[in-house]
Amino acid sequence: MSRSNHAGMSFWGAGNASEPVWPRERPNYSSLAAAVQGETARWNVPGIAAGIVQDGHIEIVTAGFANLETKQPVTPDTVFQIGSVSKIYTATLAQILAEEGILDLEEKIVTYLPDFTLADAGAAKQITVRQALSHQGGFEGDIFDDQGLGDDALEKSVASAKTWKQWVQPGELWFYNNAGFYLVGRVIEVLTGKPFETVMREKLLDPAGLNNTMLFTHEAILHPHAVGHNLKDRKGEYTIAQPYAIPRHAAAAGYIIQTVGDLLRFAQIHLNGGEIDGVRILSEARVKDMQVPQIKASNFADHYATSWALEGIGGATIVQHGGSTNGFRAHLDLLPESGFAVAVLTNGSPGTVAYDSIRRWALEHYRNLKDEPRAAIELSREALEKRVGRWERQMARIDISLEGDELVASMTEVNDETGKPVGEPRTMTLYPLSDDEFGVVDAEGLGESWMFVELHPDSQGNNRDLLRMHGRLLERVQPGSDKPKKAAKAAKADKPEKDDKGKKKKK
């Protein structure tokens, strides 16, 4: 399961001016209702709840089904998982504690969690709360081992951090990091002496009047709730996504369940300088502080701020975040200057493409902000050959080869235990956008950019070739060189598969 922020990056193919590779052409909808209905149908999404805030007014539109088995329709009362959009709640909660003088965002995590350590103990001592909230920790962030449902789940997860791999030093390089939010969640628990979810409810959800917002499955079951759906293709065959919930220890990174109305209410807090219905949740300075760029990003955002992703569209800076859990996709965009927000909640795996289309339509329709797709450029054969090779991370491998004059990536999911590939590889064309950045259409049909990062040397004096895609890092694996044990095992176990794949590709 991938859980990440995700907004589509648009680009043209090389020398082809007729239609961009991404996004695919969208009808020119005349209303939000038409856009939501249209995109629900176009991408075969089970259900969507979407809404906008403009000039303090909220408009909500729903389409499709909350559950394809029971045929319960989506209504404005339906609660969806918002996945990683929850990270903005965690950061807002951290800012509330900062305002109370309990927490200092510039302080190091070890100040609050003296026992906290990573595989790289030196790095663990450096990381600040701010870095953890802006994906700058530098350690592996996809940590989803099951730590149970108990109040001690988060504590147990953070205690296991001594095994979390350090990719780069804190602050050195952006890559998406769920586990950074676990650290902040745990800091909040230690500072308040209460479970993370309790603090979230007491200090943010209740004061903000977010009454249709839940943190537990046993709360959500009592409300009209969407279930997630995984669709194999657009023919409509689906499975209801199980497990429903992400592991409890990951709550601070992605486990809010709410109505689109509540998400827009939360957005209004950030549009209104920290206030909602006359209740001050956060100071205006802290709301703005959350939107200050902290580190340059790529893939699906230009910069990351304190939990927010920043993306330039049509000359404006969009303050946004996406979410992806099992069978749910969600997105929230703010235009703080103009008091505008658009939120889209979906309960199907094609939801990413649909929400991206709806948000782009809304930005254009309501705010006249039109994205200019980036044009692919010509790169020398030498510049392309430089990227050929094998790149690996936990559970994934990408083989890049040159086919004719196109770079083609073949992506394989790998079982870390056995080192064996899982399922069929997916192949994608890489469209050069600059010397080191390439446009691709990802597994969910969404445009994003892949970034090659050469650290020659990195802060530790080593020469490393990294590939950053989907917010994750992969490292080039050189045949015969020193590499992680698991990677070596994986490469070895896979010799025959490599040949198979070579044959398949000729088709």
Binding site: G150, L222, V227, R248
Partner: protein, 461 residues
């Protein structure tokens, strides 16, 4: 016009089909939703009516899942029997052997209580404690570590008193012997082998299914409120947190009717249906997990379930190849289900379960029981009011916010000198039995009363 013209209850109509009976009784008792299934040999007849979820207007369907409440106990008992079959568990070995840290309030009982006592409600351990020990895998273990604060009512095996806590303790024994959480053991060793796709133990499993919500009404005329929280806290799971459909419950009934199929040895499956003897040699009310009743030369094993807002029943007549499962999402659902079962028993199998007739009892015989009786969470004040034996029930549980301090007055009709039946209130139909221990095992004179399977003791003024 008389002001208090009775509009309720009408007599049960003579329904022509299960569908009519389920529709009719749903309406007559104003239950939001019902699902009833009947198994005869290999034939299954299922009828559903009403809504599983009132606000979402989701109809009850064949695979709608409901909370089965205490029917879970039969699942727990069956799982224990699988551990017996695997050679991991002996029903008559003190559970202290498996849980060396176990400490009950009574040291002697601590060393005596066996799995058989726990699964047949004869352990003597105070049966109701619904505290919250969190959602973690350690919830059961944590709750058991505080069992030394539960009253020991009698020596293990001495008599019957319904005990939720005993089933949680049995669940903990299962965890230790299986080396997994209780829920994992249930899935691996029983549910997956029986292929029961609609049966689950956790809310995160229920939420992706067509799950009915529970509803509560004080009175049928009042309308319904959503029952919250959805489930019991996790340490209660072995006693009452399973959710299931009628088709899955009938699958489970068939498994027992077929003497365990190839999953549980026939002698072990059959032994669950034998009443557990008490210390004095008489038959207990329960076998292993099942309540056991002999009716007209044949055996009925059964269990009811009742959670906040959902009620269920399962009755199996193994010798007749007949079973009935009923699910409802109301705190009054058992009245409707009971009536449907009565109708079905007669209609399909010609079975009429005799109801004991009320007798005439002199007021002086009733008055011998007058006075105040208590257990940790209830006070019962018995008296004769206008010639009618009456109980005033007060909830003493300070943790039960909804019910704390609530009083209810129950009218009772005599069935014997020491036996009465509630004719009004939430406990309607419940048997009240006075027990005079003279002297008990500890050499004290004690007067006990058992109401709804729970004991209370006469408070000496």
């Amino acid at each position: 016009m008389t002001q208090s013209q009775p509009v309720w209850p009408f007599d049960r109509p003579a329904y022509e089909s299960l569908a009519a009976a389920v529709q009719g009784e749903m309406a007559r008792f104003n239950v939001p939703g019902l699902a009833v299934g009947i198994l005869q040999g290999t034939d299954i007849d299922v009828a559903t009516a009403g809504f599983g979820n009132l606000s979402a207007r989701l109809p009850v369907r064949d695979h709608t899942i409901f909370q089965i409440g205490s029917i879970t106990k039969v699942f727990t008992a069956t799982l224990a029997m699988i551990l017996v079959q695997e050679g991991l568990l002996d029903l008559d070995t003190p559970v202290k052997t498996y849980l060396p840290d176990l400490e009950l309030s009574d040291a002697e009982a601590t060393g005596q209580v066996t799995m058989r006592h726990l699964l047949s409600h004869t352990s003597g351990i105070e049966g109701d404690r619904f505290l919250d020990y969190g959602l973690g895998d350690d919830a059961l273990e944590k709750s058991i570590s505080e069992y030394n604060t539960l009253q020991q009512w009698y020596a293990p095996g001495e008599m019957f008193a319904y005990s939720n806590t005993s089933l949680s303790l049995a669940g903990r024994v299962i965890e230790v012997l299986a080396g997994t959480s209780y829920e994992q053991a249930m899935h691996q060793k029983l549910l997956s082998r029986l292929r029961m796709p609609d049966t689950a133990l956790f809310t995160h499993e229920a939420i992706v299914r067509d799950a009915a919500l529970g509803y509560i009404t004080r009175d049928r005329a009042d309308g319904y409120e959503l029952a919250t929280p959805y489930a019991f806290s996790r340490q209660i799971t072995p006693a009452g947190n399973i959710v299931s459909s009628v088709s899955d419950l009938l699958r489970f009934a068939r498994f027992h009717m077929n003497d365990g199929e190839n999953i549980l040895r026939a002698d072990l499956a059959r032994s669950m249906r034998v009443p557990t003897p008490l210390l004095d040699g008489s038959d207990g009310v329960f076998g292993i997990g099942w309540s056991v009743t002999r009716i007209a030369g044949t055996t009925m094993v059964a269990h009811n379930g009742s959670t906040g807002g959902q009620q269920a029943l399962l009755c199996v007549w193994p010798e007749r190849g007949y079973a009935i499962a009923g699910l409802s999402n109301s705190n009054k659902g058992l009245e409707a289900l009971g009536s449907i079962v009565e109708w079905a028993n007669e209609r399909y199998r010609g079975i009429v379960i005799p109801k004991p007739e009320a007798i005439d009892l002199p007021v002086s015989d009733m008055e011998q029981w007058s006075g105040t009786w208590e257990r940790h969470d209830r006070r019962l004040e018995f008296s004769v009011v206008d010639g009618i034996f009456t109980a005033e029930v007060t909830n003493l549980d300070p943790l039960d916010v909804k019910l704390s301090g609530k009083m209810e007055s129950i009218s009772l009709e005599p069935l014997a000198e020491n036996k009465f039946r509630a004719t009004t209130g939430d406990m309607k139909g419940a048997v009240v039995e006075f027990i005079r221990l003279r002297p008990d095992a500890r050499g004290q004179n004690r007067d006990l009363v058992r109401i709804g399977g729970r004991l209370a003791e006469r408070r000496m003024s």
